[in-house]
């Protein structure tokens, strides 16, 4: 069933020049995913906040890159160096990296470490823009940047160290004979689930948009303003995801080059299965397929593939994507209608829930004994450590940099309030019915 047998030993064969060049080329395509998700975030927000949303995505990428350079890369321990290692029950638990600051020694580091570092620069940017879409239309840019800084400075580096850079989750295979340790090849855990959980913490902290949940009656529909952005974002995201999953397979699984076509096919099939499932569910429930939910389904399939496209068969990828596409519209509806969670981009479901499902599926479909338990331990870490930690950080940050724009700013839109100009200046913005 496995295209690539997972490594049990951490012994790594050096990259050939061809593999180095290919991995670098693939990594340079990864920002397409970020661009796609940024477009989706923008399209799913309202027109009065479109420029602020897209500028926010760019600003968050910049903030994460700078903070990761100054602090995050060291704590992640990507370039090696020391770290904090606890010893309990006769095992070593590496909990924090303490590598060289400011990327000292980058040029002399092993080629694989250099590529891993580049991967993590893009990964932290991606993780930071995921919650940005959830706080659309009410989250101040300065507050978004502060959350991105914290994410890049401490939260993501912790996850990256534990999962990718020889931390205690990566060592579960060696220490406790749990398969190959916690597997997160394309970033389903440390990018998408982390980003989705951060989105939940932000949405809890910031509250819903004004008028979204009236005291009585159903929630107010606030559809995205540009379905073309959203759907084009899906296409861009696919291109980036194919590269991201392939690069992850080379970096974290040390897969042979011949395994890459299978990884790419698995990624495509997962997205396709998810789209077909969401299309069918929305067609059945609403009489017509819903474009934004279909986009969410497509993205959920890609997120699920991040965990497992390179270690499961194409048929399994199709199944995993289909399940993600099946629950995505239902969960989006559950969050909005039953749980009163206002998440304009659907990131909590698309990145959080689909990422968790992908991680579980990687364990279910992996033949390595104990792999499912390793995946469950990783999931327990994300839910039990990262979510409360993110919520605490958001609550503290909200006291110093208030997250939410004032009522007037929300009424006139984030573009005029924060940027002084609209994304579509020639259009007349109609009065919002929800403020009556």
């Amino acid at each position: 069933m496995n295209a690539i047998p997972p490594l049990v030993s951490p012994a790594v064969t050096p990259l050939s020049d061809a593999a180095f060049a290919l991995t670098l080329a693939l990594l340079l395509l990864c920002p397409l995913t970020i661009a796609g998700v940024a477009l989706i975030n923008t399209g799913l927000g309202r027109s009065r906040s479109a420029a602020q949303l897209l500028l926010g995505n760019v600003a968050l990428i910049a903030v994460t890159a700078i903070v990761f350079l100054f602090a995050g890369a060291s704590f992640a321990g990507t370039l090696g160096g020391g770290g904090i290692v606890l010893h309990a029950a006769g095992k070593s638990w590496s909990v924090l990296g303490l590598g060289p600051f400011l990327l000292r020694g980058l040029s002399t580091a092993a080629p694989q470490s250099q590529l891993a570092l580049l991967f993590q620069f893009f990964a932290v940017a991606m993780a930071a823009i995921i919650p940005w879409g959830s706080g659309a239309d009410r989250w101040r840019l300065a507050a978004g940047c502060s959350v991105a800084a914290v994410l890049a400075g401490i939260v993501f580096p912790l996850a990256a160290h534990w999962i990718w850079n020889g931390g205690w989750l990566a060592q579960l295979g060696l220490n406790f004979s749990l398969g190959a340790g916690f597997l997160d090849i394309g970033g389903a855990a440390s990018i998408h689930t982390l980003g989705g959980l951060c989105a939940l913490a932000v949405v809890w902290t910031i509250g819903p948009r004004r008028g979204k949940f009236p005291k009585e009656g159903l929630s107010t529909a606030m559809p995205g303003h540009n379905a073309v952005y959203v759907l084009f974002g899906c296409l861009l995201a696919l291109a980036g995801w194919l590269a991201w999953n392939s690069a992850g397979a080379l970096l974290w699984l040390h897969a042979p080059l011949t395994a890459l076509p299978g990884t790419a096919i698995g990624t495509l099939l997962s997205a396709s299965g998810a789209l077909a499932a969401t299309f069918s569910v929305t067609r059945f429930r609403f009489g017509k397929p819903d474009a934004s939910l279909c986009a969410n389904g497509w993205l959920a399939g890609l997120v699920a593939s991040s965990a497992c496209a390179s270690i499961v068969s194409p048929t399994a990828s199709l199944f995993i994507g289909s399940v993600a596409g099946l629950f995505t519209p239902l969960l989006v509806e559950l969050f909005e209608l039953a749980l009163s969670v206002d998440d304009p981009s659907g990131a909590i479901t698309v990145h959080g829930a689909a990422g968790l499902w992908g991680l579980v599926a990687a364990g279910i479909f992996s033949p390595a004994p104990g792999q499912l338990i390793a995946q469950l331990v990783g999931i327990a870490t994300l839910l039990g450590v990262m979510l409360p930690f993110l919520y605490l950080l958001c609550a503290l940050l909200n006291r110093t940099v208030p997250f939410r724009v004032d009522a007037d700013g929300e009424r006139i839109g984030m573009d005029l309030h924060e940027l002084g100009g609209s994304a579509y200046p020639e259009f007349v913005i109609h009065r919002d019915e929800s403020y009556r």
Binding site: K215, E216, L372, I373, I379, L383, G384
Partner: protein
């Protein structure tokens, strides 16, 4: 409610880690890891309910 739920979640995580250390037997280990996850999910449910805005209150009064 909000804080209680979020405090229960790390408790589930520690249960999961304890299962790794205390139970070499795969069956028991799996059972306790699942118990830890169940505790986390209960905490998550409590936290979600704690964050739900009060809606329809005026109608019930």
């Amino acid at each position: 409610m909000k804080i209680a739920g979020l405090l229960v979640m790390p408790a589930g995580f520690f249960l999961t880690v304890a299962a790794l250390v205390l139970f070499p037997d795969p069956g028991r280990r799996a059972a306790f890891v699942l118990c830890g996850l169940a505790v986390e999910i209960m905490g998550l449910i409590v936290a979600v309910r704690g964050h739900m805005p009060a809606r329809g209150a005026s109608r019930r009064q």
